[in-house]
């Protein structure tokens, strides 16, 4: 009986204590802007999540510290000038790549930590799970690298995306292929094969690629979907080899891409053109790992910015230096660049709003008209359409050269600036072997 009374007393006291726990927002001027960072830091998407985390930490650093020569929003000066110097604080949560964790932690960030803006989740699938929740609480939310078009097509009023969606991205690759013949490229690319993984991201890309292939008059000679986590792709390579496409459109994650490359090598097969859309092509570690074997020379895909040109921009270089502090020396990959750009836009919006009140934030966000000179990325600007998708989020098409770096090959004006002649056809394995033993 005494035990029961003690338990009851503890329970009651805990209830009362929770009522007064930190997180209740104090009245008065804001000294701290709380940004919820909900990311997959462990589990299947951990390698993506950790890049987004580093990107977030980079932006937090830029905003809170004074970088007088850095020409990005909130580079110079400490904190948010529009909020009296208030600092930005990331409240980080790991959802383990699981949807119900994402939704639960989103609710925690909003109702307990009382964040002013929710940035996340980093992958399209889990982001779509938290959208209805955030919408019902009415605070702004953003996922910049999330590429699924459906995220901005469901009529959510509080979801913003500065990055491009799969529609734009896949379209730029196909546009390059279409315009290539009149710029010195091959004019006999008639057949295409699709090779995609089975999850949301890959399938979104595949759907768009199917449409664009038909519109572009290509004959689809193979359309293979594989399960993620494949241990071997030898039979799939055999099938592709038999189909002999002119263009292979590949959307796979780094682990599967590596398996695929090994199986390609064993079969001594290389399609004439390998075109990708994100996945491994966007992953910095995969890129670095290609260097010893020149395994990716000739691969082309979409990038948010002309890296070869951007790395000449002082702002890009400076931001990369800051990023490397958090990423243990890894350079900014294209995913990190999208995320950094988007979060700097967010900081700028908060600053312009001069308030953390959701209505003011929304107004400032909707009125955004950011010019390219303030960005480290090659968008034509940031301006939102009626679905709060940035309509100026374009990008370039790049190709990996023999120097293992990405080179801009489209749009044509930037390509001329970059001065790189596209490699065609994709080099054979023998050529790769001999050229990599340098």
């Amino acid at each position: 009986m005494r035990n029961l009374r003690i338990i009851a007393a503890v329970a009651v006291l805990s209830f009362v204590a929770i009522q007064w726990s930190p997180g209740a927002r104090a009245a008065g001027p804001i000294t701290e802007v709380l940004i919820g960072e909900l990311l997959p830091l462990t589990g299947n998407f951990a390698s993506l999540g950790q890049q987004y985390l580093w990107a977030g930490q980079t932006v937090e650093d830029i905003v809170n510290n004074d970088y007088p020569d850095l020409s990005v929003p909130l580079g110079p000066g400490k904190g948010f000038p529009g909020l009296g110097g208030a600092k930005m604080t990331l409240v980080v949560r790991d959802d383990q790549s699981r949807g119900e964790q994402a939704r639960t932690l989103a609710e925690q960030l909003i109702t307990v930590n009382k964040v002013h803006w929710l940035n996340g989740e980093g992958t399209s699938g889990n982001t779509s799970i938290i959208q209805p929740l955030v919408e019902s609480y009415g605070i702004p939310m953003s996922c910049h690298p999330c590429a699924s078009p459906t995220l901005t097509e469901k009529g959510f009023k509080w979801f913003y995306r500065t990055g491009p969606n799969d529609g734009t991205m896949v379209a730029s690759v196909f546009q390059f292929l279409r315009e290539w013949p009149s710029h010195g490229g091959p004019s006999d690319l008639k057949t295409i094969a699709l090779f995609t993984c089975d999850n949301l991201f890959c399938q979104d890309n595949r759907k768009i690629a199917l449409e664009l292939s038909e519109k572009g008059g290509y004959k689809i000679v193979a359309d293979l979907t594989t399960k993620t986590g494949a241990t071997t792709l030898a039979s799939e390579v055999q099938r592709l080899q038999a189909a002999n496409p002119d263009v292979l459109f590949l959307v796979q994650y780094p682990a599967e891409t590596t398996v695929f490359q090994a199986d390609l090598k064993r079969a001594n097969y290389m399609p004439k053109v390998i075109a990708t859309s994100n996945g491994a092509y966007s992953d910095q570690t995969w890129l670095t790992a290609q260097k010893p074997s020149a395994g990716a020379a000739g691969w082309l895909g979409r990038d948010p910015t002309a890296i070869d040109l951007a790395s000449k921009k002082p702002a890009w270089k400076k931001v990369n230096e800051i990023y490397k502090k958090y990423s243990r020396g890894q350079d900014m990959g294209e995913l990190a660049m999208r995320e950094i750009t988007g979060m700097l836009w967010m900081a700028d919006t908060i600053n312009r709003a001069k308030s953390v009140d959701p209505a003011a934030l929304a107004k400032a966000a909707n009125e955004t008209d950011m010019k390219p000179d303030m960005m480290i990325i090659d968008y034509k600007g940031i301006k939102f359409d009626k679905n709060r998708q940035n309509e100026l989020a374009t990008g370039v098409v790049t190709q990996i050269g023999w120097d293992d770096e990405k080179h801009t090959i489209w749009p044509w004006d930037l390509a001329t600036q970059a001065g790189f002649k596209p490699i065609y056809p994709s080099p054979s394995w023998q050529e790769r072997e001999s050229r990599s033993k340098k």
Binding site: D198, T232, P254, R266, N268, T285, A289, P292
Partner: protein, 290 residues
């Protein structure tokens, strides 16, 4: 026809690699009947070991196989003594539960130390041979995979001799069949279990070392192989080392051939479907003893 034969050849090669992963499980689970959720994590530790020694000391994985096997043997025994021995007192489900905890612990321990980046073993004998093929009658056989396969066969032979031809192996089998009776003839079950764990862990770590030549090394790498390994040991039948080997080859071939003709996303599904089908006719797997 070439497509089919090549797919069979590819399947056999992969099957040998799967056998390599399954052989450790064949002892811990197939023989001693202890479900280990963390089996793939030990394999992943082997992969990281191979990568680390290759990067920091320049050792070829074929060489680092030996010290890694020794260290992981010790780890397996340690895990048994500190954890599994205690949970054996309770429900069998508690054993599974304990290994779930081990799974989280090991995988995230590696994430904490190394992050989730993908890493690769660049310089080794087998990666240097990566494009080299033997061509037999129009069918390609990759040399590095062949080497990996031969190592797998060698380990299987060793294991088979150990379990079926030595006194120690007989003692292991006896403990698995009837613990109390084994005690009556003077076998110490705790010691048998500890050694089984040590051996099983060492073997799967060696599998990881070999696989590091072919696959990216990252903390979540264990999962895809582990699930197949479980299916293989069950398909082969508990208590049969030969069964595990044959089941592995069968799995490799089913996977490879179905991927060549049917939607590739279903290739693992067909493997598991085959398991159920075979199980309906042979409820104890191909050669199961219990």
């Amino acid at each position: 026809m070439t497509l089919f034969l090549q797919a069979v050849a590819d399947g056999l090669q992969m099957g040998l690699l799967y056998a390599l992963v399954a052989v450790g499980l064949a002892i811990i689970w197939g023989l001693m009947e202890m479900i280990n959720f963390a089996h793939g994590e030990f394999m992943m530790l082997g992969m990281f070991g191979a990568w680390g020694l290759s990067v920091w000391l320049g050792w070829d994985p074929l060489i680092s196989m030996v010290p890694i096997a020794v260290v992981m043997y010790g780890l397996g025994v340690l895990v048994y003594r500190l954890l599994m021995q205690r949970v054996q007192r309770g429900e069998v489900f508690t054993q599974i539960f304990a290994t779930v905890g081990l799974f989280f612990f090991i995988q995230n321990g590696v994430v904490a130390l190394f992050t989730s980046d993908y890493r690769f073993v660049d310089k080794s004998l087998l990666t240097g041979l990566s494009g080299v093929n033997l061509t037999v009658g129009g069918i390609r056989i990759g040399v590095p995979l062949l080497v990996g396969g031969l190592i797998a066969l060698g380990l299987f032979l060793m294991l088979y001799l150990l379990i079926d031809r030595t006194d120690f192996g007989l003692a292991l089998q006896a403990t698995a069949e009837d613990r109390d009776a084994a005690m009556l003839v003077g076998i110490r079950p705790q010691r048998m279990y500890a050694v089984a764990w040590g051996l099983g862990t060492a073997l799967v770590a060696v599998a990881g070392v070999i696989l590091a030549n072919f696959f990216s090394v990252y903390p979540q790498a264990g999962l895809s192989f582990t699930v197949l390994a479980y299916a293989i040991v069950a398909l082969g039948g508990f208590g049969s080392v030969l069964g595990t080997l044959l089941a592995a080859l069968l799995v490799g071939v089913v996977q490879s051939v179905t991927a060549a003709y049917l939607p590739p996303a279903f290739k693992d599904a067909f493997v598991f479907g085959s398991y159920i089908l075979i199980g309906l006719f042979r409820p104890q797997g191909l050669f199961g003893r219990f």
